[in-house]
């Protein structure tokens, strides 16, 4: 597990005397990072600043110079907007929990048991990811719809059972989210589990550890960075989910992303939409920073 990136740059050695800053700016690492960093500044930091600025302008203005107010944030809590926050975060939390339970055994199989079958199985699990989310959710709609749907129609023909529709329930949205985000939980866990050295598991077994002890004391701590990344990624994506609630929930369940879209299209209230966005960003941002601080990315990506 030698960390290659920790060795000093082999090609160009900076003397480091004289102007240190200039030396730093001309070091190959900084030079190579520059294009991405500039892009990051224009494409990510800029937009965030604008959203933040807009969230403090008076209602229904489209101009940043219109004044300063915090009433957009007050609206979120005094009107019913906070309900979508509760729904979105609850659904996202449940999605993460279910996906960890569903994904862990599969990840364990992929990284420890399947051997040369792991790559093809992985491919089978990846392919749906590249079919647009909307197409797949529409497929669920066709599967679940009342009367002529594949589930209802199939059950009726095969067993003569009449089922109502399963659509338009919060449970269906949850199923849709579990479905869409499972790969995002799964693959980071595979990455994390493949960091568990075989010898260490065997050593602890020789020392008399039970299967559960191995899981709790060896596998789980070592695989934790991968599990954390998977959980975080799933949570954040699920908080921003929009199609699930619309296509499977029939708009009975309010979620944040829909509120935001509504404010920016039909309601034409950009400041309120921005305030909702900022609140969502702050909550997910805190989680992201907390998790990121614990990660050693070099180890996670660069072993072998």
């Amino acid at each position: 597990m030698v960390d290659r990136a920790e060795t000093p740059a082999p090609l160009i050695r900076q003397p480091g005397v004289g102007s240190l800053l200039l030396g730093w700016l001309r070091s190959p690492g900084v030079l190579n990072a520059t294009p991405v960093l500039i892009f990051f500044l224009i494409g990510f930091v800029g937009p965030l600043v604008i959203v933040l600025a807009f969230s403090f302008t008076p209602e229904r203005t489209f101009d940043l110079g219109a004044g300063f107010t915090t009433e957009n944030y007050e609206h979120i809590f005094t009107e019913s907007y906070y309900i979508s926050f509760i729904w979105s975060f609850a659904l996202a939390g449940l999605t993460v929990a279910c996906n960890l339970l569903i994904g862990y055994p599969i990840a364990y199989g992929l990284s420890k048991l399947f051997g040369r079958w792991a790559a093809p199985v992985m491919l089978v699990l990846v392919i749906p990811l590249f079919v647009s989310e909307n197409v797949r959710l529409f497929g669920w709609y066709l599967f679940l719809i009342k009367g002529g749907g594949i589930l209802a129609g199939g059950l009726k023909t095969a067993f003569g059972i009449d089922t109502g529709t399963l659509l338009y329930e919060p449970g269906t949205i949850l199923m849709g989210m579990i479905y869409v985000y499972l790969p995002f939980t799964l693959f980071p866990i595979v990455l994390g589990l493949s960091m568990v050295p075989r010898d260490q598991v065997e050593a602890s077994r020789d020392l008399g550890a039970s299967r559960f002890q191995i899981f709790r004391e060896v596998e789980l701590p070592i695989a934790m960075p991968g599990i954390l990344i998977g959980a975080l990624l799933t949570f954040v994506l699920a908080v921003g989910a929009i199609s699930e609630a619309k296509l499977l929930g029939g708009q009975n369940t309010p979620v944040i992303a829909q509120d935001i879209q509504h404010e920016f299209t039909y309601a034409q209230n950009w400041p309120l939409g921005s305030a909702i966005s900022v609140l969502a960003i702050v909550v997910t941002g805190i989680l992201v920073v907390l998790v990121m601080r614990r990660l050693d990315l070099d180890r996670l990506l660069g072993r072998r």
């Binding site: 000093p8 990072a33 937009p47 959203v51 079919v131 499972l182 879209q261």
Partner: protein
């Protein structure tokens, strides 16, 4: 490591069941696209491929796919170039601030996409850029460049920088060393980076919906149509995109395997 047989079987069955679960909606879409009737009913009484004729013949289909293709193609190209340099800074060189940089550029991945799309729309309005498919390329890049950087980084971690030094010792100049040593060694990473970028952009909806303006991609059209009721063109268009994704993915996978085999042969 002796794992008990039944444990392996259990996990294999579980994996199979979940894989099946992942494909249920895809099969549903394909099934309904071949149904003959105007409204989808299961079990399907009569099969037909007339919706394909109709869909493939429509100008709309060509327009939508071309827009999606332009966007995804540009995204893949630009993302690989930016990601290549980004990955060298990420994984190869050791420099002050690298740890911070690594975390910083990951942030757009861990960001609610609908919120990102909207923030970009506001930003474009502020700067004076009209929403269009070119603007959508930019929006996709914000999310996809970090992912491509990570994908290429994994390859860069495995690259032995001593090879480059050897090339210099043998009299290669910077460009030659880059072209003959570095680029071929990193090529698989660049290729998978491009493949990822293309497919993620092709299927993206939350970023496109805010930024394409009057241009419409396949996924946007599907979303709008689904909201306004069923027509057989929806599953047909969806099925076409399924076939497209499978062809591209398998093509890419095969290409990588052939490349690896050829490299092994050359080394023997």
């Amino acid at each position: 490591m002796e794992n008990k047989r039944w444990v392996i079987s259990l996990i294999a069955v579980w994996t199979g069941a979940i894989a099946l679960f992942l494909y249920i909606p895809i099969f549903s879409v394909i099934t309904s696209s071949f149904g003959k009737s105007r409204y989808f009913r299961f079990p399907v009484k009569a099969w037909s491929d007339k919706w394909y004729d109709q869909t493939l013949g429509a100008n709309l289909t060509t327009d939508l796919h071309l827009t999606s293709f332009y966007v995804a193609g540009c995204v893949a190209l630009i993302a690989v170039v930016l990601g290549f340099f980004g990955a060298l800074a990420f994984a190869r060189y050791n420099w002050r601030g690298r740890q911070f940089y690594q975390r910083l550029i990951m942030l757009p991945i861990f960001f609610p996409q609908a919120v990102l799309g909207l923030a970009l729309l506001l930003w474009f309005t502020f700067v004076g850029v009209l929403p269009s498919w070119e603007a959508a390329v930019f929006a996709h890049l914000v999310w996809i460049v970090p992912i491509v950087t990570l994908v290429i980084s994994i390859q860069v971690y495995g690259f032995d920088a001593a090879q480059e030094e050897a090339a210099y010792d043998l009299g290669a100049n910077r460009w030659q060393a880059f072209r003959e040593v570095t680029l071929p060694a990193l090529a698989p990473g660049l290729f998978s980076g491009a493949l990822f970028a293309f497919l993620l952009s092709w299927g993206n909806f939350p970023l496109s919906t805010f930024t394409t303006g009057a241009d419409s991609t396949v996924t946007e059209w599907l979303y709008t149509k689904m909201g306004s009721g069923y027509t057989p063109m929806i599953p047909t268009m969806g099925a076409l995109s399924v076939f497209g994704a499978i062809v591209i993915l398998f093509g890419g996978y095969m290409f990588l395997i052939v490349q690896r085999r050829r490299r092994l042969e050359r080394n023997e």
